[in-house]
Amino acid sequence: MAKLITASQFADPDAAYRALVEARRSLSEVDAAELDTKLVLILANHIGDIDVLREAIALAKGG
């Protein structure tokens, strides 16, 4: 059974997107990829649920 939430959870999705844009504004593609990889690890640990992580991987690969 799906546990991954794909419904929007941010009160202001534009602000969340803006935060991600600002984080990479001055970065090269390689540096931005490194940033994103660290973000994945940090957020995956924060979620702390292997089923959710597997579902998220499947969504990202299919999307």
């Binding site: 794909t6 929007s8 941010f10 999705p13 534009d14 997107y17 990479r24 593609e29 969504l59 999307g63």
Partner: protein
Amino acid sequence: MSNVRKSIYHYDYRRSPDQDAAVAARRPVVVVGAGPVGLAAAIDLAQRAVPVVLIDDADRIGEGSRGICWSKRTLEILDRLGVGERLVAQGVTWKLGKVFVGDDLLYAFDLLPEEGHKMPAFINLQQFYLEKALVDRALELNNLDLRWRNKLVGVEQRNDGARLTIDTPDGPYRLDADWLIAADGARSTARRLLGLDFAGVTFEDKFLIADVHMAADLPTERRFWFAPTFHAGQSALMHRQPDDIWRVDLQLGPDADPIAEQAPERVRARLDKVLKGHDYEPEWVSVYTFNCRRLDRFVHGRTIFIGDAAHQVSPFGARGANSGIQDAENLAWKLAAVLKGEGGSALIDSYDTERIEAADENIGHSTRSTDFMSPYTAAERRLRDAVLSLAPQAEFARRMVNSGRLSLPAVYDTPLSTPDTSPFAGSAKLGAPLPDAPLRRADGGPTHLLESLRGEFAVIHVKNGEAADGAKPEAVDGMALIAIGDDLIDDEGKFTQRFDATPGSTYLVRPDQHLCARWRTFDTAALTRARDRALQR
């Protein structure tokens, strides 16, 4: 085809007696710039019995890159100025939008799900029609003196006014103004003459904008594409206007050559792909870039900036001319009150506070839309493309897709409001324009709340409540009293719902239809205090 639309309405220069005056004539208000914003300000002031001189360096309307989307709040303001119904009848009413990724529909949206508003969410109408309607209205007002081919060439700031030098075909003349309203656009002469800095962000991305004549039976909706096959890698927008005119807006990228892109065969090649299979004729074409910036302050002594002269945003989201007309409405009643001695001088400062707040909100939305639509770097583009790629499957990503968040009126966090002492639910908000509601007049005819408020302070009172200290609900200190249940009847219950109204509920409305105080009982003293606060006296 030409990149200069031929002028559609022409007006004659007429010599004013002020040009022959031995001593410079003195006027309470001079407005410079007869675009939508300057016209709205001048008409609003004239309707408030303030004599106005409105000058413009041209003698015609109908040229250049122009707005087409007019928002509900703007239409409500224009309705009070006497042209709202005419414009709605003339314009294309729309509320549906569609966003495509590639050639696939990502989502559709409906802008006004709520019933019972007199004005629609948006109309599309060529700016020259709106200007024509406002000029017609201006010419009906005896105390509005509209002077074409009067070009501002000098401003000398004084403690009690501004001394202007105005050039005309007959040569220059002087005119003294108690107040100067600068509505002279993004390249404001008044701003330059005062040497004011206009700092902000200039975006490098270039866009091709074209109005084409095309008799196509396509639906009336805003269509936006990210990376469609007909315009590879870039975004595209298509929007309907009256007279079988369609607005097409194509992103060209930062490296596009603005001159080469306007060559007729180049434009044709692009439009052929967008409008494939349709017969069309380009009527007007231009290439633009845009800025997000504003003046530090809008009030500079006796000179006050409104519209694009004060702030500039990207065109995505209908925030330019719409916010300018809202500036005009915010300023007009305040300036009229100060000139009549009813308002304190701090009232003018509240124009600065409230409209800078609104401008910052617009610039914020505009910047975010631009971040999404035209990413700065490869890394930002990768993030944007990931959102677009996830969007069909994941709602959270769809919500981040940004093709322009359409303009909503600002809710002012302002010293003019009296804080609530009782809780209120409903959609009415302190500091916001009143939500409209369908009502019935005492004589039985249908009306709407907003058209019942004609620009003065008004008290709306719901009858059959208890009054504080035995006060009788009656007109207080010259303010109009509207009794819900007697003067206006809420048959459908929408007023009650939107204002969380209970018997006795009493609302104080500013002349610009913003809510500035509310109570659960009628209290004469509280009403007077709140009105005095809203006038800063």
